[in-house]
C-alpha cells in the first residue's frame, strides 16, 4: 500500500506500484511478473474493456445553447464604444489640423488635457523608465504619455484624407501649410484611426470589373480624340496641304493601333473574369463588353484610311501645285459620301512575249489572254473574277464559232 502522505497517479501496478504509462503496458507487465494473481489481472482487464466500450463509440452531443445573441450584444457595445472613441479622435484631429502658428502647443493642450508628467515614470507601451535619454512625449490626440520609440507619426496628408475622405481635403484651406509634417500619436489612437481608414478604403473600392471598365472607357475616349485628330491630319495631307507632317500621321496611327490593342486586351480580361454562378447576367454583361469592344475596333478603327506613302504624297502635292497654277480647272471637290477605296485586283500584264501563241485572229488571241487571266485569278483566289472571266470566255468561243460559220458560208 502507498504511504498516506504521498499520492501517486498513472497506470500503476497494484502489486509493485510501478507507473507503466499505458493500459497495455500495465497488462503485459502484470502477466509477466504477477501471473499468479489471475483475479486481479481480470479485474484490471475488465476496467479497461469497460473504458473502451464507453469511449470508443462517438458520443451524442449534449444539450446546446446559442450564445450568438449574447456575443452580438457584447460586440455591439464594444463597437459603439469604439465608434464614439474614433469619432472623438477624428473631431480632435480635424481641429488639430487647423492649428498653426506659434501658440500651436498651447492650442493642442487646450484641445485635450495632457497627462501630468510626474504621474508617469515608465512608458506604458514598453515599460522602460523615463530619464534624460528617454524623454516623455504626449499623444496629440488623447494626451497620454509614451516614449519616443513608442510614438507613431501620422503625416498631415493622411490625416487630411482621414478627416475628409471624399473630397480629399481639396476644398479645405491648406491647414498647416507645412508639407511633410507629422502628428505624434500613441499606439492606441493609431490603431483606431488605421482601422477606420482601412474600412473606408474597403468601402470605396470598386469591384474589379468596374475598375477595368472605367479604364477601358478612358482609353476609348482617348482613342476618340486621337482618331478625330488623325482624320483631320489625313484629310489635310491628302488634299495636298503642308500643315501636318506625314511622320506625325504615321506615329498617330501607331498610337491608335497600340490603344486598340490595349482596349482589346482589357475587354478580353473583362470577358475572362470569374463569374459568380449566382449572377447569370454578369457573364452576359462581360461578354457584351467584349463584343462591343471588338465591334468598335473592327468597324471604327480598322476602317481608318492608311497614311499615304511619301511618293503618293509628293504626287498629291505636285497635283495641287498644278491645280493652283491653272485656276480654270476646278480642284476635285471632297465628295459628301464617305468613300473607302481598297486596292483592286488585276492580273499580271500579258506581254507580247508571254502570250502563248501569236494568233492571227484577235479573237483567238483574246481567248488565250482570258484563259491566262482565269489561271491567275484562281491562284489569287479571286473566284468572282474567275466567274466573270469564264463567262467572257464562253462569249468569245460563241463569237468565234459564229465567225467560223460565216467564213465557211462565204467559201
Amino acid at each position: 500500500m502507498a504511504e498516506a502522505n504521498t499520492i501517486q497517479e498513472g497506470f500503476l501496478c497494484p502489486m509493485c506500484h510501478k507507473d507503466l504509462r499505458s493500459p497495455n503496458n500495465l497488462i503485459v507487465h502484470f502477466q509477466d511478473l504477477h501471473s499468479e494473481e489471475q483475479d486481479i489481472l481480470k479485474s484490471i482487464k475488465d476496467i479497461y474493456d469497460k473504458y473502451y466500450l464507453e469511449y470508443s463509440d462517438p458520443q451524442e452531443p449534449g444539450p446546446t445553447r446559442s450564445h450568438t445573441d449574447y456575443f452580438r450584444a457584447v460586440r455591439r457595445e464594444r463597437l459603439d464604444h469604439r465608434t464614439t472613441e474614433t469619432n472623438k479622435l477624428i473631431i480632435r484631429l480635424d481641429r488639430l489640423l487647423r492649428f498653426y502658428g506659434s501658440d500651436r502647443k498651447q492650442q493642442e493642450q487646450e484641445l485635450v488635457t495632457w497627462v501630468e508628467g510626474y504621474l508617469v515614470s515608465r512608458c506604458p507601451a514598453c515599460t522602460l523608465p523615463f530619464n534624460i535619454a528617454r524623454r516623455q512625449h504626449h499623444c496629440r490626440l488623447c494626451g497620454s504619455i509614451m516614449c519616443n520609440s513608442c510614438s507613431y507619426f501620422l503625416p498631415y496628408e493622411i490625416a487630411q484624407t482621414i478627416v475628409a475622405p471624399v473630397n480629399n481635403g481639396s476644398d479645405r484651406e491648406p491647414a498647416t501649410g507645412k508639407e511633410g509634417d507629422n502628428l505624434r500619436i500613441c499606439n492606441h489612437c493609431w490603431n483606431m484611426l488605421d482601422c477606420r481608414r482601412r474600412v473606408q478604403i474597403e468601402q470605396m473600392k470598386q469591384p474589379i470589373i468596374c475598375q477595368l471598365y472605367s479604364h477601358l472607357q478612358k482609353n476609348k475616349f482617348h482613342i476618340q480624340n486621337t482618331v478625330d485628330m488623325y482624320e483631320k491630319m489625313y484629310n489635310s495631307l491628302v488634299s495636298g496641304e503642308t500643315t501636318y507632317l506625314l511622320q506625325d500621321l504615321q506615329s498617330l496611327r501607331t498610337t491608335i493601333a497600340d490603344k486598340a490593342q490595349m482596349i482589346d486586351t482589357l475587354s478580353k480580361k473583362i470577358a475572362l473574369l470569374p463569374v459568380d454562378p449566382g449572377m447569370p447576367k454578369a457573364a452576359a454583361l462581360q461578354n457584351n463588353i467584349r463584343k462591343a469592344t471588338s465591334v468598335y475596333i473592327k468597324d471604327y478603327l480598322l476602317t481608318l484610311s492608311a497614311p499615304p506613302t511619301v511618293q503618293e504624297l509628293e504626287k498629291i502635292k505636285r497635283n495641287r501645285s498644278i491645280g493652283v497654277v491653272e485656276d480654270d480647272i476646278p480642284t476635285p471637290k471632297p465628295s459628301i459620301k464617305k468613300v473607302t477605296v481598297t486596292t483592286g485586283w488585276s492580273p499580271a500584264n500579258v506581254t507580247n512575249e508571254t502570250t502563248v501563241v501569236e494568233e492571227n485572229d484577235p479573237l483567238l488571241e483574246q481567248m488565250n489572254i482570258v484563259r491566262n487571266y482565269i489561271d491567275q485569278a484562281r491562284k489569287a483566289q479571286r473566284f468572282e473574277e474567275v466567274a466573270s472571266l469564264q463567262e467572257n470566255l464562253q462569249l468569245l468561243k460563241k463569237m468565234y464559232r459564229e465567225q467560223q460559220k460565216e467564213e465557211y458560208g462565204k467559201k
Partner: protein, 190 residues
Amino acid sequence: MASETTEAGKMANRAVAAQRPNGSTQGKICQFKLVLLGESAVGKSSLVLRFVKGQFHEYQESTIGAAFLTQTICLDDTTVKFEIWDTAGQERYHSLAPMYYRGAQAAIVVYDITNQDTFGRAKTWVKELQRQASPTIVIALAGNKQDLANKRMVEFEEAQTYADENGLLFMETSAKTAMNVNDIFLAIEV
C-alpha cells in the same frame, strides 16, 4: 415587262432591308461592268491602273486584246464592285469591242487632250455606243493627259459642249497626277 422587273427589283431590295432592320453595317453590294474605249495611246490602261492600283507607269505597254481588272469601293453603306474591261485601242482589236460594251453598264470613252484626232475618234466611239450598246448605258467622256495642258489641242469648252449635247458625263483627267481619276469612276456609279 420592264415594270415587272423593276417591281421584282424593289421586292428584292425590300427583302434585303427586312433582313437588316437596323441597316447599320454593309447594305447592298452592286456589280458594275465598265468598259474603256478610245484611240490607242490616249491612256486608257493608265487611267484604270491608277484607279485600281494607284500606280502610274511612264512607259505603259500597249494593251493586247482586252485587259480585265476589278476594284471594290464602299460608298456609305453600298459596296460597288467594278469589273473593268480595258480594251486595246489598236484598230486590229476593234472587232472585240462590241463584245465588251454590249454587256457593260457604263463606258468611258477616252481621248488625249493634246491630240485632236483622238477626240474625233472618241466621237465615233460615242456614236457607235449610242447605236449598238444597251440604251441604258452610261457614257462618260474623259479628256486625259490633263497634266500636259500646255500642249493642249482640244479645248475644255469644246469637249464640254459636245458632252452636254450628247448627254455624256465629262471630265478632264490625268492618270499621272491622279486628277479626277477616282472622281470619274465614282461619277458614273452615282
